[in-house]
């Protein structure tokens, strides 16, 4: 137990001297890194704009209130498009994520040496790139519009769904699989009767969870031209129509809250 002497008595302390010293140097290094980063940011900032910020914020607030409620009539189609991007994107992603997950899970993969690394690479690369970047790329390839948004959301979601799903597959109860195998079932029958019933609740939960996230993401895809309500947001921002911007932000906020509520309800019903 670490202690130090004080007037001849031993007093307890939390760490030994060398531990404290290492920690102290760790903190010193972290603070130095942080200060360096902050100086970089500070050097790239026009501080006049920052001191002026409260006035600008007040100005924008004045322009944005009250929201232009009658503009809502034009938002029906974009909201429908946004919903479609999120839902169809999620469905396509699930179709692609299921085989990927089965190939990535240690207990179901056909080959740990060849197939599993490829599946893991698919998961990592689709997960680490944001849907906006995928949208940017797809717009360059297949042109702007809702379809590019659907594909962007689908690609981005594969990694997320497949990762959660393959973790669920790896955690299944092997006893049930063995029982089905013992009846003389083929590989596919083992899959359908032994593995799928065990991961079905997890699968439904993942699908709804990802749908919720995709609603959020699809609201902003329009900023780069991939359809949905973001197109209207970007158009309104470009012409500085702040009352329209505030209305769109309110709509997006509502969409996010509703989708979160739906997903929480459905997941509560499943689990």
């Amino acid at each position: 137990m670490p202690y130090h002497e004080q007037n001849g008595t031993r007093v307890w302390q939390r760490r030994t001297r060398s531990e404290s010293l290492t920690r102290w140097f760790g903190w010193l290094l972290s603070v130095a890194v942080f200060v360096y980063c902050w100086q970089q940011i500070s050097a790239a900032t026009t501080w006049f704009f920052v001191t002026d910020a409260p006035r600008i914020a007040g100005d924008i607030w004045d322009r944005a209130t009250p929201p232009k409620w009658e503009y809502f009539a034009q938002l029906g189609r974009p909201i429908w498009d946004t919903l479609n991007i999120a839902t169809l994107g999620t469905i396509i992603a699930l179709f692609l994520a299921v085989p990927t997950a089965f190939m990535a899970a240690r207990n179901t993969t056909p080959s740990t040496v060849f197939v599993r690394p490829i599946a893991l690479l698919i998961i990592v690369s689709t997960r680490s790139i944001n849907s906006l970047i995928w949208a940017l790329l797809l717009i360059a390839i297949i042109g702007p519009g809702v379809f590019a948004g659907v594909v962007a959301i689908a690609i981005r979601s594969i990694g997320f769904c497949a990762k959660l799903l393959y973790e669920a597959i790896e955690e299944i109860n092997e006893v049930q699989v063995e029982a089905i195998t013992a009846t003389g079932a083929s590989r596919w029958q083992v899959m359908v009767y032994g593995i799928v019933p065990q991961i079905l609740p997890a699968f439904a939960g993942i699908a709804v969870f990802r749908w919720d996230i995709n609603i959020r993401e699809s609201t902003v895809l329009g900023l780069v031209g991939a359809g949905g309500i973001g197109l209207q947001l970007s158009a309104s921002l470009n012409v500085l129509a702040w009352p329209q911007v505030s209305l769109i932000l309110i709509v997006i906020l509502f969409a996010v809250v509703i989708s979160e509520w739906v997903s929480a309800k459905v997941r509560g019903a499943i689990i």
Binding site: F34, C37, A44, I60, I129, R216, T219
Partner: protein, 274 residues
């Protein structure tokens, strides 16, 4: 022993076994299926895909995929380096500030240690921060503070607060009360109580979550440049606009590499603290 079997099971004897469906009530199952099919048809009808445009674009898609086999790190090396450094600087600064602010807010948002008014205020902050997406916050902050990494730094800090405070508060709420009580019984002041009774219990998870958030912050910092908030996003956007797929591929490979390295690092750190 026939009588001990429940009547439902008795009725099933002699019938062919069927897999139980996911949704038990038949009418609800059919309603969901029909509703879903109707929705799918409606959505397919309203998406107008320009198939000729898609077909023409396939060449460019192939060109992009081929670009991954020969990424061009050199011809725009200066821009890529500047953008990456800016992204990393924003990530580090925003993570430090965000984590530092989210600890007191997380303490305030835990029902078992915070009084009601503080709890409501902190939960309100968390809800606002979680409801607004990074990119929208970034647009507003760029409009207010001007272009540059400061807007990105503030955006990421703000987003970190919502994420980390919520999860930290949930962790504190599910902690072991007994240990905290024992510290309190020894006559500890409030700060000592937090420091010796609460903090050791939530520290491993806090470190794990912080690592995860640094990872997310880096990924997000890659897109903030699209709206002028600094980072690699601006370079990436330019590369796409100029159809320089080999440069874009190089940037994407660097992003994937850094994310993988961060994930590996956070795995090691989480294994050590737990």
């Amino acid at each position: 022993m026939r009588s001990a079997i429940s009547p439902e099971l008795n009725a099933l004897i002699g019938q062919k076994w069927q897999r139980p469906p996911l949704v038990k009530r038949a009418w609800l199952r059919w309603m969901l299926m029909i509703g879903f099919a109707a929705y799918l048809i409606a959505s397919f009808m309203t998406i107008d895909v320009n198939w000729t445009r898609v077909y023409e674009g396939l060449d460019r898609g192939a060109a992009f995929i081929l670009a991954f086999t020969s990424p061009d790190f050199t011809s725009r090396a200066g821009d890529i380096w500047d953008g990456m450094v800016e992204s990393i600087v924003m990530t580090v600064a925003a993570s430090v500030v965000g984590i530092a602010i989210s600890i007191p807010i997380g303490l305030g948002a835990a029902r078992n240690i915070a009084p009601m008014p503080v709890y409501l205020i902190c939960r309100g902050i968390v809800a606002v921060s979680r409801a607004l997406q990074e990119i929208i916050v970034a647009i507003l902050l760029v409009a207010i503070f001007g272009f540059g990494p400061l807007a990105g730094f503030l955006t990421l800090s703000f987003a970190t607060i919502g994420f980390l405070s919520k999860l930290l508060a949930e962790d504190i709420e599910s902690m072991d009360r007994v240990q905290a009580e024992a510290i309190k019984a020894s006559g500890a002041r409030w700060m000592q109580w937090i420091n010796y009774g609460v903090q050791p219990q939530v520290m491993p998870r806090l470190i794990g979550l912080s690592m995860y958030r640094i990872d997310i912050n880096f990924r997000e910092s890659a897109i903030l440049g699209l709206v002028g908030a600094g980072g690699i996003g601006a370079t990436l956007n330019t590369a796409f606009d100029r159809y320089e797929y080999d440069t874009a591929a190089a940037i994407l490979i660097i992003i994937i590499g850094i994310v993988m390295a961060l994930e590996y690092l956070s795995g090691i750190i989480r294994a050590r603290v737990q």
